[in-house]
Amino acid sequence: MNGITASTAPWYASRATGIVSLLLFTAVMALGILVNRQGRLPGLPRFAVTNLHRNLSLLAVIFLAIHIVTAVMDSFVSIPLISAVVPFTSGYETFWLGIGAVSLDIMLALIITSLVRGRLNRKVWKAVHWLAYASWPIAFAHSIGSSTDLQHGLLLILALACAAVVAAALAWRIASVAREVPRAQRVSALLNRPAPRPRGSGRPAPPRDRITVP
């Protein structure tokens, strides 16, 4: 492998930050599914799961921005900056970079609607946020197709692991919905259950029997 020189540094930076973006967005996707079903992470309160999802998504966007800018900066291939948001306008790898742009467009919609969420109709925000289920697979396809990095060796295993994480999260979500107690029966399901012991009583707490509220 050639050494990283000043002229090739942007190219390596773009590939590296691309991989980091994939990892981060995979985490964001899994956390988003967790937030939607009011799931927990060990040791974290539920509001922390929501905050983690939000904060990681902003961190991921920063890495994504570096990924795009360094790709544009690189003198070896010609990628106009506009092709980051306008799909299929790049000379290099038109298709694969194009779908990367599609995914970025969706992500921008997600982030902007979330930042102005207070002013938006709830249904509108929700409808746009559902596009996340389209954005991630498209980004994943871009990762695999636009460079050979992820097509071999350890990085291929990493990519497959990311896909497995999202698939598992999806499967968990579907199962969680199937297990859900119908709203009208939630209270009757809870009446006559033994109360959990108060914390700090010194004895191990019984398994939580809270019914979550989707």
Partner: protein, 441 residues
């Protein structure tokens, strides 16, 4: 033969004293003719918001439980812009209350006059009368007849739909009502936006209790000064209240605000130093407050006095619990009902109310452990102020006041003794909890 506008039939004088709303007769409903004979034609102002000034001078507050100044609601809805919608809230989901049902049965035209006047005041073009679907065929048929009589006599300017709500405790809550009218389930939602900004079909919606509308109909005819002839200065006028006596009889009474509870409950609270059959009084309804009978005997029916005792008028319910019944057992039954009536949407209410209901059931039984009461206090603090509506808050007020007033009874239970002798429950509760989504539509 259709009645014409100028046809003021018999001479009508201002009703002096009480009752004002309910016909003073043996309880026959007022048909349209009787209503016009008694009160005359509806006094339209022909200008929006003229009525609000009179209502402000009269000091009329809502009779649905929140006692919010009526003129401010009118101004808020009129000022929200766009075509308004008016709902007459006759749901009366409070099981212990029947004053709205009685008013709608005996004097529907007063309510409907008030509805038309309120619609005119906010510039609404559509209105709705909202009642539970459990009142019986005769009841809803009578309301439909009243509406069609008014329409063919060209009294109503705004068409009024009759909407039937499911028999749920929360169905009368204003956001739940709006959701049902918009085609969904009768479940409360978070605010903002408040219904006076965006409600039925997205329009600014005025929601008023039916008794409030009846008062509006009278104030529009006889003026603010007349309205203030009874009641207190801070809380003028009269109100309907549902009184449950210790012997089980139920009366609907129209009383001036500020009437001593002693004169409303009569012999229940005892006479001249001797105790009556009542051990405690529930004021306001199942989101209200228990009061010891001796305390209640010194109070009057107005919020100024009641709030000093930690209570409020609420839905205008007064229940005198006889000493032969166990206050804790009654409270536990009602708490279970309130838990089952939770919308099941907000975690604290959904999880907390059943736990508290079970805890109270334990307290109502023999030898409860002291930990149970401490648990209930702790959970009560965790569920208040954390939901889309005030169902948990009101329920906790009821529960906490019970633990306070029936503390002596609780000490008896801890020793394994109950002072009650009655076997049947006292507080009225409807049968049937919700089991599926359809029960909310």
């Amino acid at each position: 033969m259709p009645l014409r506008r100028g046809e003021a039939t018999a001479s009508r004088s201002r009703p002096d004293g009480l009752p004002r709303l309910l016909p003073a007769g043996p309880g026959e409903p007022d048909g349209l003719r009787e209503h016009l004979a008694r009160h005359g034609f509806i006094p339209y102002r022909n200008a929006p918001l003229q009525l609000a000034g009179d209502l402000q001078a009269a000091g009329l507050t809502g009779r649905g439980g929140a006692a919010f100044p009526v003129y401010r609601k009118l101004e808020a809805v009129a000022g929200a812009g766009g075509r308004a919608f008016v709902v007459a809230n006759g749901a009366e989901s409070e099981p212990a209350a029947s004053k709205d049902a009685s008013l709608l049965w005996l004097a529907p035209h007063l309510v409907l006059d008030g509805l038309q006047l309120a619609a005119e005041a906010v510039g609404a073009q559509e209105a709705c009368l909202y009642v539970h679907n459990t009142r019986g065929e005769q009841f809803t048929a009578a309301l439909r007849r009243a509406l069609s009589d008014r329409w063919s006599a060209r009294i109503d300017r705004v068409p009024v739909q009759l909407a039937e709500a499911p028999a749920r405790f929360l169905a009368g809550q204003e956001t739940a009502m709006v959701n049902l009218l918009n085609g969904g389930l009768a479940l409360p939602t978070f605010t903002p936006p408040r219904v006076f900004e965006r409600g039925v079909n997205g329009a600014p919606t005025l929601v008023q209790n039916v008794e409030t509308l009846a008062h509006i109909a009278l104030i529009a005819r006889y003026g603010a000064g007349w309205f203030r002839q009874v009641g207190t200065h801070a809380e003028p006028g009269s109100m309907l209240s549902t009184i449950h006596h210790a012997d089980g009889t139920v009366r609907i009474v129209e009383a001036a605000i500020g009437t001593p509870l002693r004169s409303l409950l009569g012999a229940d609270l005892g006479t001249d130093g001797t105790d009556g059959p009542a051990q405690a009084v529930l004021a306001g309804g199942y989101h209200g407050t228990w009061l010891a009978a001796s305390r209640a005997a010194g109070l009057t029916l107005d919020n100024a006095a009641l709030t000093r005792a930690g209570a409020s008028i609420g839905a205008g319910v007064l229940v005198a619990l006889p000493a032969s019944h166990c206050g804790l057992a009654e409270t536990a039954r009602v708490a279970r009902y309130l838990a089952l009536e939770s919308a099941g949407q907000c975690g604290p209410c959904l999880n907390g109310l059943p736990r508290i209901a079970d805890g109270l059931a334990t307290l109502a039984g023999p030898r409860p452990s002291p930990q149970v009461r401490a648990n209930i206090e702790r959970w009560a603090g965790l569920v208040t102020g954390r939901g889309a509506c005030s169902h948990p808050d009101g329920s906790m007020r009821f529960v906490r006041s019970a633990l306070d007033v029936f503390a002596a009874e609780l000490r008896q239970h801890e020793r394994g003794v109950c002072s009650a002798s009655a076997r049947r429950p006292f507080l009225p509760l409807p049968a049937g909890a919700a089991v599926s989504e359809e029960d909310w539509s």
